[in-house]
């Protein structure tokens, strides 16, 4: 039997149940290198590019463009060039969908799961995946949630235990903020979470406002490494209009316009993503939390410019309109800024594979 590999509909994050094959980047017969872009997959959140994990030749495109399939369904077959077509037919015919979670369990890795922790009187909700002694803690931005890391957490979870936390006021966590809701209060809560869960020294990854929190937590010496994605650093060139408009938007059309400012390609904001954000904004307590954190974000931007206290890798989308990278990429001693092409304020969603590689390299101490 020829050595054939199934390429399946990926499961990016816990909530993803199906994906639509938006377009193929390659044709049948094309040689595939590891990391090659194979297809664009549309999820309920955003469009993402599927990359090859192993080299080979693309023998059969099973999924049609525009077709929606459950996670784990066969979309293409990889193998050696010149493999008998009948063998490919037989492989396609005998393929059985394996639940991605079950597959992970067989490999001995723990299946991703949602969990909660009680910290300082607040319930914090988080998604956890992967195993390992070292923990990667992911902190999302203002108005986001742990699901924002859906495209990068799989890659990181293949080598580490990954925890994506919903910050207070966001996602499935309590909508009340700790203390006065200041940056220091939020950072203290995250530290208390790390202590309560016994995570030890973690690799911190923070996006935007979550970057501000990560920087503060790292400043206490509690981090193994610090990766900042489009971080809100003191004195940052922040578009305050975005925060005001995000908080005020009540209709889908309005909110979509606001959300398109986050990305380089406006078409990548799906109807479902707009609906999800709108529904979250309607939950009791979210409006108040966002109003307070919006003030806090504005105050951070009003401070005198200050580089991260801990050496960091900072990743910026080239088309970021929300927080501009510091001019000349000057982040202070020991820190590095990398600009990702084709991304706006959400490189971890827009250029997920590249961003995941950068984060992984920084965690491994191999800063570009």
């Amino acid at each position: 039997m020829a050595d054939l590999t199934a390429l399946t509909m990926p499961k990016w994050g816990l909530s993803m149940e199906e994906g639509t094959l938006a377009s193929w980047h390659l044709a049948e017969g094309d040689a595939v290198n590891e990391g090659a872009e194979i297809a664009d997959i549309e999820t309920s959140k955003l469009l993402n590019t599927l990359e090859a994990r192993s080299p080979g030749t693309l023998l059969r495109l099973v999924a049609q463009e525009g077709e929606t399939l459950p996670c784990g369904a066969l979309i293409a077959v990889l193998g050696e060039a010149g493999t008998d077509a009948e063998a490919v037919d037989a492989f396609v015919a005998s393929f059985e969908v394996v639940e991605p979670d079950a597959e992970d369990a067989e490999d001995g890795a723990s299946a991703p799961a949602y969990r909660t922790a009680e910290v300082d009187g607040l319930t914090l909700h988080y998604a956890e995946a992967g195993e390992g002694d070292e923990v990667v803690l992911l902190l999302h931005g203002y108005g986001g949630d742990s699901g924002n890391w859906m495209f990068v957490s799989e890659e990181l979870a293949s080598v580490h235990r990954v925890i994506a936390l919903d910050l207070p006021g966001h996602g499935g966590s309590d909508k009340a903020l700790p203390g006065s809701g200041s940056l220091e209060d939020v950072a203290a809560l995250v530290q208390a979470f790390i202590a309560a869960e016994g995570l030890g020294a973690v690799h911190l990854v923070g996006h935007s406002f979550g970057g501000a929190v990560a920087e503060r937590v790292a400043a206490t010496g509690a981090a193994r490494s610090l990766t900042l994605v489009a971080p809100l650093l003191p004195g940052a060139a922040l578009d305050r209009g975005y925060i005001a408009d995000f908080a005020a938007a009540r209709r889908k059309r309005e909110l979509r316009e606001v959300l398109t400012r986050l990305v380089a390609d406006a078409d990548s904001i799906s109807r479902d993503m707009v609906e999800d954000v709108l529904r979250t904004k309607r939950l009791d307590g979210v409006g108040e939390a966002l109003a307070r954190l919006g003030e806090v974000a504005g105050a951070i931007a009003n401070e005198a410019p200050r580089p991260p206290a801990t050496a960091a890798l900072a990743i910026w989308g080239e088309a970021d309109r929300i927080i501009l990278p510091p001019s000349g990429g000057n982040l202070g001693k020991g820190s590095t800024a990398v600009i990702v092409a084709g991304a706006g304020h959400l490189p971890h969603l827009e250029r997920a594979a590249e961003t995941a590689r950068l984060v992984r390299a920084n965690i491994a101490g191999e800063r570009p």
Partner: protein, 340 residues
């Protein structure tokens, strides 16, 4: 996200608000069931089980079974609201509200105005509307236009489980009388509904589908029918913008006018009788404020001006069907359609 029925969503909204605010009470016929008897304490939970479980959590003082006296239920609820409680009064069928028009129209709806803006009446009246269940002419009407006609009342018509929970929470928190109309054909329909409390503001239409070719405005159970038509039309390349206003009073005029400005074509689908109904109201709105954008006469899809028939085949013919909605869309697009 958990999927829940329209019935569960309404129950959760009541539960959320009763837990949050001790002033919220439920009053109606058999809202618990078994009051004063020796049988089960929570025997009914309302005629359709919507209030099931509340009496066990909140007690008889807050979940009040009444005799079969609609006028007493509404009078007591209006009075309780004016003293600061937040009653949610249930009246099984909207068809029975005729006997308490004075309590609703002339008392509750007028308190704020008559007392110089100093009185608040945080009253919710839940009731069931609609045909399709062979419940005959006296239990099948969609009387929302009658309440929409009265200044001082807010009128809510949720078309799905998600909206039902968020709109009922908003209704209970509102300081004015709200008529909350549940369609009896929707109780078992499901949608993703968060466990947490959330409020959907009144007067904010939902764009169920978006498109630039034709606008459909539909209410309550008619939204699902119009959506099925919109999805069929999409396969032919016709892009329908389907608007569910969610509340008839206040009405999101801006959403409707803005949409018609783009599409130039309007179909209104409503289950109420055609005379002085929502279809006529929205047609008049667009004719007076959006006439310059119209490329075709407004099409109205409503039942005929008759009582709701009991015979299932006649009742099916009475209601706006997918076929009639599709024909109306084609007519405003200028396509010729076979005569009905």
């Amino acid at each position: 996200m958990p999927r829940k029925t329209y019935r569960q969503a309404i129950n959760e909204a009541l539960d959320c608000e009763m837990a949050r605010d001790e002033n919220v009470i439920v009053i109606g016929e058999d809202v618990a069931g078994g009051a004063g008897g020796s049988g089960e304490d929570d025997a009914y939970g309302g005629v359709l089980g919507v209030t099931k479980g509340l009496v066990g959590k909140y007690g008889r003082a807050r979940v009040i079974d009444t005799p079969i006296t609609e006028s007493a239920i509404m009078g007591a609820a209006a009075g309780a609201a004016s003293t600061g409680l937040r009653p949610v009064a249930e009246l099984m069928f909207v068809d029975f509200l005729g006997v308490c028009f004075d309590q609703i129209f002339n008392q509750a709806a007028k308190f704020r105005y008559m007392f110089g803006g100093k009185a608040r009446t945080p009253l919710v009246i839940r009731s069931m509307i609609g045909a399709g269940m062979s419940a005959a002419a006296q239990h099948s009407q969609a009387l929302h236009p009658i309440f929409t006609h009265i200044p001082g009342l807010k009128v809510v018509m949720p078309s799905n489980a998600y909206d039902a929970k968020g709109l009922l929470i908003q209704a209970i928190r509102d300081d004015d009388p709200v008529i909350f109309l549940e369609h009896k054909a929707l109780y078992d329909t499901q949608a993703e509904v968060p466990d947490e409390a959330y409020a959907i503001p009144f007067g904010e239409a939902e764009f169920v589908t978006e498109g630039d070719d034709v606008t459909i405005v539909a209410f309550s159970a008619m939204v699902a029918r119009a959506k099925a038509v919109a999805e069929d039309m999409e396969k032919e390349g016709i892009e329908v913008e389907l608007i569910d206003p969610r509340t008839t009073s206040p009405l999101d005029e801006e959403a409707i006018l803005e949409s018609v400005e783009r599409t130039g074509r309007l179909v209104v689908v409503d289950e109420g009788s055609p005379r002085c109904g929502m279809a006529a109201d929205i047609a008049a709105l667009v004719a007076s404020k959006g006439f310059a954008h119209l490329k075709a006469p407004v099409a109205m899809v409503t039942p005929p001006h008759t009582p709701v028939p009991f015979a299932p085949n006649l009742e099916a013919a009475y209601l706006p069907s997918n076929e009639r909605i599709a024909a109306a869309v084609r007519s405003v697009l200028g396509e010729t359609v076979p005569a009905e």
